[in-house]
């Protein structure tokens, strides 16, 4: 599914980048139809967004079977709450991914909480997802552009964002993993995201 765009990306006036205005408008329209119970529109929404949502969930959860469950939960939630989407507050894709990401993070933290009850040592061998972002195999133009933007961040910003977003760790955990003073990681995450936002020319 190269590009994952429901319409040819060439139609996006902004050129490169994640969904251009046309895609964003289509996704938003499909969401609105879904909120009225239009299952065919929801199927199109799924086809347009499932690869991104599932890929992100899989990255956070890692276990394929669990990731499928979480992706399924996320889409049921998207169906149930579609009426709460407000295109004045952000893009449809961002809204979908926010729901998927939140569910994925909830899943890994719940699993961690239950395993923490069983064993006192965890964390010690937690592999640091060091800059895995740059190794992701997706070869779309958008992905290359995002990876390029990631390279404009400082190493600490990049690592902090990667651990938080792809690792599902809290900013205090990220601070510990990166040997930063507590309270610093949140600033690195914020600064890095602001830079990404400005580099990629994201709306808002």
């Amino acid at each position: 599914m190269p590009g994952l765009t429901p319409v040819p990306s060439g139609e996006s006036p902004g050129g490169a980048g994640a969904p251009g205005p046309a895609d964003a408008a289509l996704l938003a329209e499909l969401l609105r139809s879904s909120s009225r119970g239009d299952q065919a529109a929801f199927a199109r929404l799924y086809d347009a967004a499932a690869t991104r949502v599932h890929g992100l969930v899989l990255r956070v959860v890692r276990d394929p079977a669990q990731a499928e469950e979480v992706t399924q939960e996320a889409f049921l939630e998207i169906w149930r709450t579609a009426s709460r989407f407000d295109d004045q507050r952000g893009s449809a894709l961002s809204w979908l991914l926010t729901i998927g990401h939140r569910k994925a993070v909830d899943r890994v933290r719940a699993a961690e909480a239950s395993s923490r009850r069983d064993t006192r040592y965890h964390d010690t061998n937690q592999p640091v997802a060091h800059d895995e972002t740059a190794e992701a195999a997706t070869a779309t133009f958008e992905a290359q552009r995002v990876r390029h933007a990631m390279q404009t961040l400082t190493q600490v910003q990049r690592e902090a964002i990667g651990l938080a977003y792809f690792g599902g760790y809290t900013h205090t955990e990220v601070a510990t993993m990166l040997d930063l003073p507590i309270g610093t990681a949140k600033t690195r995450i914020r600064d890095g995201l602001i830079r990404m936002r400005d580099t990629l020319g994201v709306a808002q």
């Binding site: 899989l58 169906w79 004045q88 991914l97 909480a113 990681a185 949140k186 600064d191 936002r197």
Partner: protein
């Protein structure tokens, strides 16, 4: 986990990035969401940072197995989409400019909170002025435990949106009780139940009762809430649990309470 909790709005503002990528713990998230409702700058910033974070998903795209599509589409057959959030219709005449409705829905928390407060006020004094209660004191009812907490002089309130529902916890130290008021609570997942917890200063969570079925509740929490530092809600297997088996879906932090 309180040692890093920010103290002022300036520090809270710096949590926008961590919030946008779900990197806050439950208590911080609850606090930041309370802050978001009053800080338009943070709402705009979070929206922009979420857009930026969403672009990271371009680098991780993986198609799910085809069966998942069938399961999802079969699954939605049994799920009713939530209604939209309808803006208040009692806005003052001057404020009813065209295009204002979306804005109104975005800020619905504030008017609704005010309405809820007004309703409570009416309920609290209802016994005094109910027109159908005139001249005959016999129908005057004893206030319930919930009424006493909600009407207490020292009542303190923490409001949160939980699973799309408007909820709040009101605690009165003089009454020693806390009350959860929920409106529009979605059903717990099949075979599950919402369980309430009272948290003490050591972080210990004591079970404080199960939420019955239904969407609207005014529940007095079990247990002494005098020294509780917060109230949590988790999703537990039917029948409830003695200790939480999952991270809370909401934490009402009394240090954020308003009186």
């Amino acid at each position: 986990m309180n040692d890093h909790v920010p103290d002022d709005a300036n520090d809270l503002h710096l949590l926008s990035g961590a919030y946008a990528v779900d990197a806050l713990d439950d208590l911080e998230r609850a606090r930041f969401e309370a802050h978001l409702r009053t800080c338009a700058d943070c709402r705009v910033e979070v929206a922009g940072l979420r857009e930026a974070a969403a672009m990271l998903a371009d680098t991780t795209a993986v198609a799910p197995p085809p069966e998942l599509r069938d399961r999802v589409l079969a699954g939605i057959e049994t799920v009713r989409p939530l209604p939209p959030i309808v803006p208040d219709h009692d806005a003052s005449p001057g404020a009813a400019a065209p295009g204002a409705s979306r804005r109104a829905s975005r800020r619905r928390w504030f008017p609704l909170t005010a309405v809820a407060a007004a309703v409570l006020l009416i309920l609290g004094v209802g016994a005094v002025w109910q027109p159908w209660d005139d001249g005959d004191g016999t129908s005057q009812q004893q206030p319930t435990a919930a009424d006493r907490v909600l009407g207490a002089d020292d009542a303190e309130t923490v409001s949160l949106e939980v699973a799309g529902a408007e909820t709040k916890v009101v605690r009165s130290k003089s009454e020693g009780r806390a009350v959860l008021v929920a409106t529009g609570m979605p059903p717990a997942p099949s075979g599950k139940v919402y369980e309430l917890w009272l948290q003490d200063a050591t972080g210990h969570l004591a079970p404080a009762g199960l939420m019955p079925e239904g969407s609207d509740h005014t529940l007095v929490l079990e247990g002494d809430a005098t020294d509780a530092t917060g109230v949590g809600i988790t999703i537990e297997p039917a029948g409830g649990s003695d200790v939480p088996t999952d991270s809370p879906i909401a934490v009402f932090d009394f240090s954020e309470a308003t009186t």
